[in-house]
Assembly symmetry: C2
Homo-oligomer: 256 residues x 2
Amino acid sequence: MSQSASVNPHVSTDCVIFGFSQETLRLLLIRRSIPNKITETDDIHYALPGDLVRDDENLDEAAKRVLAELTGLKGIYLEQFQAFGDPLRVAKQKDRSWLKSVRQDPDARVITVAYMALIDSGKVNLHPGSFSKEAVWIPIHEIPELAFDHNEIFESALRQLREIVQIRPIGFELLPEKFTMSQLQSLYETILERDLDKRNFRRKMLNSGVLIPLTEKQIGVSNKPARYYMFNREMVESRGQSIMNLRMDGSFSLFS
Amino acid sequence: MSQSASVNPHVSTDCVIFGFSQETLRLLLIRRSIPNKITETDDIHYALPGDLVRDDENLDEAAKRVLAELTGLKGIYLEQFQAFGDPLRVAKQKDRSWLKSVRQDPDARVITVAYMALIDSGKVNLHPGSFSKEAVWIPIHEIPELAFDHNEIFESALRQLREIVQIRPIGFELLPEKFTMSQLQSLYETILERDLDKRNFRRKMLNSGVLIPLTEKQIGVSNKPARYYMFNREMVESRGQSIMNLRMDGSFSLFS
DNA sequence: TTCAATTAGTGTCAAATAAACACTAACTAG
DNA sequence: CTAGTTAGTGTTTATTTGACACTAATTGAA
């Protein structure tokens, strides 16, 4: 018989929010200025956006709320990817002092359910926010030391993103509604950190059926204007399949 | 500023344990007999094995403990796949009455982190256990109504398994150390619920390099004895890649 | 108004992979 | 020694991938 300890940790949700701008994959982080009584300067403190899960919320709702509070956006791509529950994940000294200022029970263990969000960063209007708390986009290669185990959570999200992007067509979530083939390719190259062949990329994307070509083209660019495409959500939802290992006829290869 | 409710739900872990025997994929479930005062018979109650996460454990450790207590096995394939946290997930009347008998705080919300385990069911020695609690293997197509939201958790695990099996070579975890090509194929056919071509299957598996052919063959079978193979763990861990969409040279196809 | 600069857009061929398909080999039980 | 059963094996065709280089359309500067 298992004699289980009766444990009531806190449960939170943290969001790894990816955006794409200036050919760079970025993360939306919270920056806090915390007065340091000793140095009499402000300590800067970065963290993933997150919050405790409320009584009447399920996990998805909690993540959506965090996202909506931060960006004002609803209906964006959001996927739970991992729970983190090391007993010591909130035990670092510098994290503790911040927790003391915001939690009734700062010593409690916190188990967090991490979500990954993909958003068109052009849609986000970062509320300037209070002096002590603001949201900033930071390139994924310049992520500073984050609070708690948030660096680990981010690394895990990034790994996951790189996998998922090869299996499901979700990259589109990071682009505006209308985008060019080059933008799409650039996005994939950024995520996968490798160059892709232009002609092969176009062929595969077009044959996959997830793109709807528009008649509209770029205007005002000082080169041949590119055609815009939209993402065919229905096509994808109805199949829920890989676009990457897709046959030309829409079938999926595994075994014969 | 977000005013968060201070919430302390319970956190548990539940394990969806897959096994494979007699050409059937099975789940290891807990069966409890609960005396019903009204009918004066025992109510039978099935659930995924699980337990509250203890103070000093991380989530993986909790899942390993549940697994070890039930099967006596360590070091088996275990993967966290999803957290479930609906506020009402433990609110069904029949679940509540059982919770009252085992929990100090039976009304508390319980958030569970679900794990999927794949084991060679031949290794498991099901402890006969007490009259009121035993573990049973049940074919996945005959899963009864389970406690809480465990049916949903199981469905989710099964979906996940079907995806993962196409991407990573984990099916082996369900077989004995030495297995024949036919056993392996039968396993894949069972999981994917579709027939595979024998020659193409063999070629792909052999070319993938995840199999180590042994000289040993079956004995005592009344037909041509099949060669045994072992799973090449190192090969897989070093790549961590798909075997299914594997090129002959071990590369992985995405874009050129 | 022409030219330079820039990015968009297009097709083919060779190599790799996938899919379809049927017979012989080895063993046991009767 | 025969019937029954499962193991094991190759080839051919269709599809997909990967490599590769030029023309088209636009703007801005000369």
